[in-house]
């Protein structure tokens, strides 16, 4: 074991009281992907509760922060949406297109 592995790292997203399980992360992802329109955090918590997988707000925030830092979720004035991977039709446009 090298020197760098001697000490555990500080966790970026998980905190005490906000340490969601992988299943919670997948449920949140499913809700965001299935949503017809932007969804609020309250609505997310409500759907999770309806599915019988309630979670607390800090855990939800940790999940959203994780998704957000990976570019998978954006938040605007209307709520949260899942950001899909750019389709091949738009990939070329994004690489070479005119930027405002």
């Amino acid at each position: 074991m090298g020197q760098r592995l001697m000490k555990e790292p500080a966790l970026e997203y998980a905190k005490s009281g906000a340490n969601p399980s992988l299943s919670k992360i997948e449920y949140v992802r499913a809700i965001l992907q299935r949503a017809e329109e932007p969804i609020s955090r309250n609505a997310l918590l409500a759907v999770l509760a309806k599915w019988g997988h309630s979670t607390n707000r800090p855990s939800l925030n940790a999940i959203l922060e994780f998704f957000g830092d990976n570019g998978m979720v954006v938040e605007g004035s209307k709520g949260l949406i899942w950001v899909p991977e750019a389709p091949p039709q738009l990939l070329e446009v994004i690489r070479t297109g005119y930027r405002l």
């Binding site: 570019g71 297109g97 405002l100």
Partner: protein
């Protein structure tokens, strides 16, 4: 927390329309160009500034052409509209402006015409079921596209009148 879009890119059609508007020097075009420029900062701050088009209401031709999963509409001067989507490349969310269109095009023109946007012979052309499907009532679907036998219309449409297609 990175919950905002990082850049705004103009799609090919939008870029053409934008450049055409920039070349014109009439008052209307200038105000549209000015508004598009001002939208840049607004959209970077709030990527959901535009009006949301629900997933099921995204025009099929646009969805097929650009592979859209979300669509937003911003109003521009003189009833023009700016249509944009949010997609991700790697871990960078970007706003892609797919169309800048005038009122007629947006309301009943080529945005809803399959034949105008999807190349002929496209593999999806024969299998797609258009919804909303009524050429006479919904979206002002042009009769020429409706007569095209390569497109299948949903049999569930009740408002379709005899002789429309």
């Amino acid at each position: 927390m990175g919950l905002r879009a990082k850049e705004i890119v103009l799609g090919l059609d939008a870029q053409k329309a934008y450049e055409r508007l920039k070349e014109n020097h009439d008052h209307e075009s200038l105000s549209i160009v000015r508004r598009v420029k001002s939208l840049e900062l607004i959209l970077l701050a709030d990527c959901q500034y535009g009006e949301v088009v629900k997933k099921g209401r995204i025009p099929t031709p646009l969805r097929l052409k650009h592979g859209l999963e979300n669509l937003y509409v911003c109003d521009l001067p003189s009833y023009w509209r700016l249509l944009y989507t949010i997609v991700r490349v790697g871990n960078k969310p970007s706003i892609v402006v797919v169309e800048v269109v005038n009122h007629d095009t947006y309301n009943n023109g080529s945005l809803h015409t399959v034949s105008a946007l999807v190349p002929r012979g496209h593999c999806l052309a024969r299998s797609v079921t258009l919804r909303p499907c009524c050429p006479s009532r919904e979206l002002g679907f042009p009769l020429a596209a409706a007569k095209d036998k390569s497109f299948v219309f949903s049999p569930r449409c009740r408002s379709r009148r005899r002789g429309d297609v």
